[in-house]
Structure formats: C-alpha cells, structure tokens
C-alpha cells in the first residue's frame, strides 16, 4: 500500500522542481522570517499571495488539492482563535497572525510538494552530523510505510476476530510494532554490515 502524500508532485516537470533543494530551502527560511516581521498592513501581504498563486500554477500543482492540504492547520487556528476571543484580544491581531500562518504554510507546502525529500536530506550528508541525519531520514522514510502497513494488517486481523480495536488494543498494537521494529533494526544492521557499512561518522 502506498501513501502518496509526501513529495507527490516532485516528479513533475515544473518550474520549482528544477531548482536545487538547498536553494529552495534557504529562500523558504528567508521568506518565513520576512513573514514573521511583516507589519500589520494588508498591502505587504498581497505580493506574496500573488507570487504563490503564480508559483503553484507553474509548478503544475492543482489549486484545489493545495487548498485542501492547507486546511490541516485549521484545527489549531480554531483553538487559538477561541483562546484569543476568551482573552479579549483584538480580532485584527488574530487576523494578521492568521494571514502570516497561511502564507507560511503555503510556502512550506510549495517546498515539500516540489522537492524530493531524499535529495533534501542529502544536503546534510557532508556536514558534521549530516551522515547520521541522512541515515535517520532514510530509515524513517522507508520504514514508516512498512510500519504503517503492518499496523493496518494487525488491526485487520483483530477485526476479523470480531474486535473493533479500542484504546487497549491500539496500545497492544503499537507495542507490537515497536518490538518488531526493534528486531527489524537488528536485521537491517546485518544487511548494512553485509554490504560493507561501517560506522565512520
């Protein structure tokens, strides 16, 4: 079972896909800092909104899909909104935070949707702690789906025996997944060593 939510469009031939990951990331950080410092006047935000709409289209990402993804932050926005109302804070205050938030996450998504994550983490490979970071990322990327599938299969077996899993079963399930992960890591180590891997960080 595959889960195509990560770098879904990174294989398309669009404008952003062709830029180097480290360049894109630096620009992203730069932009996020700008958004952080942007004054509370709507005029400053408009160009960035325009730019992102342009970038989305020349990177061949369907707008509807993009907007759907952005919705993920809404639960948090709601919580903060309620708290700010409770705190009698100025609604304008919240509004500009909301705007900064939506702009930030839009550019973040633009980055992740158009960048192959393996390439991104390869940037670190030559830095001081980079090899470890790159390895950890590779493991995470590969094994997350495997663990998720295993989780779903055990859950399915539980269902086939008449139990719709509740909290207790989920705990047992996740305990199982960790134990298997632990043993799997031993097998992975053997495979790595058999292919000549040495710990030379």
């Amino acid at each position: 079972m595959k889960h195509h939510f990560i770098d879904r469009f990174s294989y398309e031939k669009g404008f952003l896909q062709n830029l180097s990951p480290s360049f894109k990331f630096l620009i992203l950080i730069f932009l996020l800092i700008i958004f952080l410092l942007l004054p509370k006047k709507i005029i400053f935000y408009l160009p960035f909104i325009l730019i992102i709409l342009i970038l989305i289209s020349i990177s061949k990402i369907p707008l509807k899909y993009f907007l759907k993804r952005i919705l993920i932050i809404f639960p948090f926005l709601l919580i903060i909104f309620l708290l700010s109302v409770l705190s009698n804070k100025n609604f304008q205050n919240f509004l500009y935070s909301l705007l900064k938030s939506i702009l930030s996450i839009s550019y973040i998504f633009l980055f992740s949707l158009t960048t192959k994550m393996e390439e991104f983490f390869k940037i670190f490979e030559n830095k001081k702690y980079g090899k470890l970071i790159f390895l950890i990322f590779s493991f995470l990327y590969r094994y997350f789906f495997i663990l998720y599938d295993e989780f779903e299969r055990i859950k399915r077996a539980m269902i086939s025996k008449g139990k719709n899993p509740n909290f207790k079963e989920y705990t047992i399930l996740s305990g199982n997944i960790f134990v298997r992960s632990y043993e799997r890591s031993e097998r992975v180590l053997r495979a790595m060593i058999s292919k000549g891997w040495k710990i030379e960080n």
Binding site: I73, S87, S101, I108, I136, Y143, Y170
Partner: protein
C-alpha cells in the same frame, strides 16, 4: 499542541530556537560520542515509530480520539538525548510534509514537546524512581501525564508573551483540554512498558543516551 508559524513573535522565536538548536547540537554530540553500529538502525526505526504514533488517532472511551506524543516513552527506552533528537527531527518533518506545527516555531514546539517530554521529564522520573521505587508504574503514568500538561502550559506561555492570548485567561482551558490527552498518554506509556516487560524485556535494557 504544535504551534503553527505566524503565532509567535520575533523574540519568542529567536529565544526558543536558540535554546533548542543548542540542545540539539548537544544531543547530537552525546549520541555520536558513544554511537555503536546497532544503534543507528534502531534510532531510525524508532523515529518511524514516533512518526507513526503521532500520526494515528487513538480511540478513547466515550467518543473521540486523541493523538499521542510518545516522546517520554522513547526517552525511557532510548534515553533523553536520543528522544530529543528524534522528536525534533519528527517535528521538522511533520511541519514540512504535513503542515503540523511550523518551521520557525520549531524552537518553541521542540521545547514544549521534545525538551519537556524527552529530557526534563526523563530526569525528574529518574530522580523520583530512585527515591520511590515501589510506585514505579504510578510514577511513569504521572510523569507522562505531567509531560503533556507542562507542554501545554509552556505553549500557552509562549503564545501569551507573543501577545496572541492572555495567559491568565487561557491557562485553565488549555490545561483542562489537555487533561484527557495527558491521562491517555500516561496509560499508554505504562501499558506499553508492561507489554515490553512481558514480551521483550531487553528493550528496556538498551543503553540510554
């Protein structure tokens, strides 16, 4: 709670990021100092596990479902600095890929979750375990619960000194709303530790870094 970008002001962002990056570098130093080969795939796969735990909604009696953190649990197994590093890493990826949390707010989020849950609570637990060994499981439950509550308190704190909310007015609702998640986290960690004791006790004997 993962704070998204846009809701913390410059001073909070700078301060928390400074703290968290220093902690991260220190954690990496500690991890690399004694890094044995077996540990590398274990760290990687544990990272996938944390990601998985945080991605799944755990059903809870009386309706809804909660999201777990698993950070204190991992610190009990792999150690505080490993837990900090892995959860920092997970936060970063969650922000970039899922939009869960933010990138500039990673300092604050990793303080609330990774530092409080992985490092601070670990040492509190270790201290209490020594002086009250007989109530070990209760301590595990309580510290797990505490990690969630403390995390929510600091979250409120950071949001309030950024001028978004009032601390005094928000603290009670925040803490109350995290109580269920805290209790669930506590039960989860205790049951999982007991599961390991039964099925694979050597997991609990892994060197803790």
């Amino acid at each position: 709670m993962h704070i998204p970008d846009g809701f913390l002001d410059f001073k909070v962002v700078s301060g928390t990021n400074l703290f968290s990056f220093l902690t991260l570098i220190y954690s990496l130093k500690r991890i690399l100092k004694k890094l044995k080969p077996e540990r590398v795939p274990l760290l990687g796969i544990s990272c996938a596990f944390i990601f998985l735990i945080q991605a799944i909604s755990f059903p809870v009696p009386y309706g809804t479902s909660v999201h777990l953190s698993g950070i204190f649990l991992i610190s009990l197994i792999l150690g505080p600095f490993s837990s900090f590093f892995l959860s920092f890493f997970t936060l970063f990826l969650s922000a970039i890929i899922l939009g869960h949390g933010g990138i500039l707010t990673i300092g604050a989020n990793s303080f609330n979750l990774s530092f409080i849950g992985g490092i601070f609570c670990f040492y509190i637990y270790k201290f209490l375990e020594k002086i009250l060994p007989k109530i070990k499981y209760f301590l595990i439950f309580f510290i797990s619960f505490l990690s969630i509550i403390l995390g929510s308190i600091f979250c409120t704190f950071f949001l309030s000194i950024s001028g978004k909310i009032s601390f005094s007015k928000s603290i009670l609702p925040m803490v109350i709303s995290h109580t269920v998640a805290g209790i669930v986290e506590g039960i989860f960690v205790v049951l999982t530790i007991k599961f390991f004791e039964k099925v694979k006790p050597e997991i609990l004997k892994i060197e803790k870094i």
